[in-house]
Amino acid sequence: MLHPTPHELGPEQNIVEVRNLTCGYGPAVVLENVSLRVAGGDFVGLLGPSGSGKTTLLRALLGAVTYHAGEVSVYGQKLNGHLPRVGYVPQVETVDWNFPVTVEEVVMMGCAMGGGLLPWNRREDRERARDILSRLGIGDLSRRHIRQLSGGQQQRVFLARALISSPRLLLLDEPTAGVDIKTRDDLLHLLDELNHQGVTVIMTTHELNAVAAHLAWVVCINKRIVAEGAPSEVFTPEILERTYGASMPIIKHDGMTLVGERPHQIGRHDRSGRSGDHV
């Protein structure tokens, strides 16, 4: 089900504003002339092939790239050296899973700067962590080592860390990578719930059909912004070809927009001389 909140673009409602941004890492340019506005309460998916600049755009909102031109504002403040306070969930593949930390220890990192000078966590922060973990369905795992969790549980731990500081904006880098369909669906429903509670969500993903089913607004990126809008409007063979450089058929079924995959030209059917057979 799509989020009922419309994608408002009134200037006072913009929580993120990117204007003519050209950015990258050092002298290397990854994104060129990108403009994007995200309103408070939006749930936005950033789509594009590997290396297209999805993660770079997310990092640009965190002030963690080199800005060559243009500007970025978060909560109405320009990012000139200062970092916005947002909830950030990194790609799980960047995590050191052998690091000796329990679920609770990871979640409490989210209030590393807000819990006073003492090394132990305040009771209210610990209670809040327990409450968030319970809401995310992993309340009984707080003393487990992070390596002992399933992929979906691991994602929830880092989501809990991001949520403990009550952010208005949540940035997630490929939260659906490497998890099964059920876990992915659960996770997207969870994000949808948070979004309904007023949290603005921006996530990168490769899951086109999941995005079409859960998100109200998508942005297709390939070094530049190719298109943005509701999935039903953006998911066209032309836009997807410009984004991914590959031909993808679109199937409309029961009110849903689905992205199909064309069979490989040289496949089992071709070799057996029965090209065109479909089950």
């Binding site: 965190l62 963690a64 970092l83 306070r85 947002v86 950030y88 990194p90 960047t94 995590v95 050191d96 899973w97 690091f99 000796p100 930390v101 329990t102 220890e105 990871v106 409490m108 990192m109 989210g110 590393a112 700067m113 819990g115 000078l117 003492l118 090394p119 966590n121 080592h145 390596r147 002992q148 969790l149 399933s150 992929g151 549980q153 691991q154 500081s165």
Partner: protein, 303 residues
């Protein structure tokens, strides 16, 4: 009532003032190395202790040549070396931490060797810095160790949560508002001070083991960061205390005695961890094992 047999012999070394000073120094240094070692090992900079002790050796020689206070000169030199290593790794990620440690610290050590060969008259004075001489610890050294211990405990106490986040994931920690550059600078300063005061006890050649073995043993025993810090610090302190005590009876170098004792603890922890994992696998059984998360199963299979 009579004293138990052997009690007098057990406490005999404490009749000597130099031994009492030495064992206090070794206990504090052992604990300090165990504490800082946790961060060093988890930052995958295990060889920084070895490297910094050599870099500081260069600084110690320069301090001597310039008639500068050893502790201040060597600490400053070690601090600058640690900062340089951090800056090199951050600015040029293609140069790994291990390579940066190798380049900067050996260059500093080479400078010390060059100066010693130029001014041969004081060569013997630096034997203690290379191999440690616990029996030569005087009250001034003890005071310096106590001051560094207080400074280290205060730094870790007040920056505990920021240090943990920066060690776990420095980039994400920055996104959460942790001043990672300041934390890294504080870490470099504390580490340099710890290595300088440890030189007298451990010597430059054995200091790496005192920094690395206790946290590795602790890691084998726990999956929690808090417990790892506690176990490593305690083990380091006990290793320092017991190592010196044993060295008195078996008449070997104090640094070597501490390192050999810690290594025995490591062997014991390895054995314990193997038996624990084996028993856990047996009790889980085939069905339960199949239900475990893939990551945990893969880990068990690796053992």
């Amino acid at each position: 009532m009579t004293d138990p047999v052997g009690a007098a012999t057990m406490f005999e070394p404490f009749e000597y003032e130099f031994f009492t000073r030495g064992i206090i120094a070794a206990t504090m240094v052992g604990g300090l190395c165990g504490l800082m070692g946790v961060y060093i090992v988890l930052r995958k900079m295990s060889y920084i202790g070895h490297g910094l002790s050599h870099a500081i050796f260069g600084g110690a020689v320069v301090s001597y040549v310039m008639s500068f206070n050893f502790y201040i000169g060597a600490s400053l030199w070690g601090f600058l070396s640690a900062l340089l290593i951090n800056a090199t790794t951050r600015r040029r990620p293609t140069i790994g931490a291990d390579a940066a440690i190798g380049i900067i610290t050996t260059a500093s050590f080479a400078l010390g060797v060059a100066l010693i060969s130029r001014y041969r008259t004081f060569t013997r004075s630096f034997d203690a810095a290379l191999f440690g001489n616990i029996l030569a610890v005087d009250e001034r050294d003890l005071l310096a160790i106590a001051a560094v211990t207080a400074f280290t405990i205060a730094a870790v106490f007040f920056a505990y949560r920021q240090l943990l986040f920066t060690t776990f994931d420095p980039e994400v920690a920055r996104f959460y508002g942790v001043p990672t550059s300041w934390i890294d600078t504080l870490f470099a300063l504390v580490l340099a001070a710890v290595v300088v005061v440890s030189l007298q006890v451990m010597g430059a050649t054995l200091i790496a083991a005192a920094l690395v073995v206790p946290p590795i043993v602790a890691r084998l025993l726990t999956d929690s960061f808090h417990r790892m810090v506690f176990i490593s610090t305690t083990l380091g302190a006990i290793g320092g205390f017991a190592g010196i005590w044993i060295s008195y009876y078996i008449d070997v170098a104090s640094g070597a005695s501490i390192v050999l004792l810690l290594t025995a603890c490591f062997a014991g922890a390895m054995l314990y961890a193997s038996i624990r994992d084996r028993l856990a696998n047996v009790s889980l059984g085939g069905k339960a094992l199949a239900e475990r998360p893939a990551a945990a199963r893969q880990e068990s299979e690796l053992h």
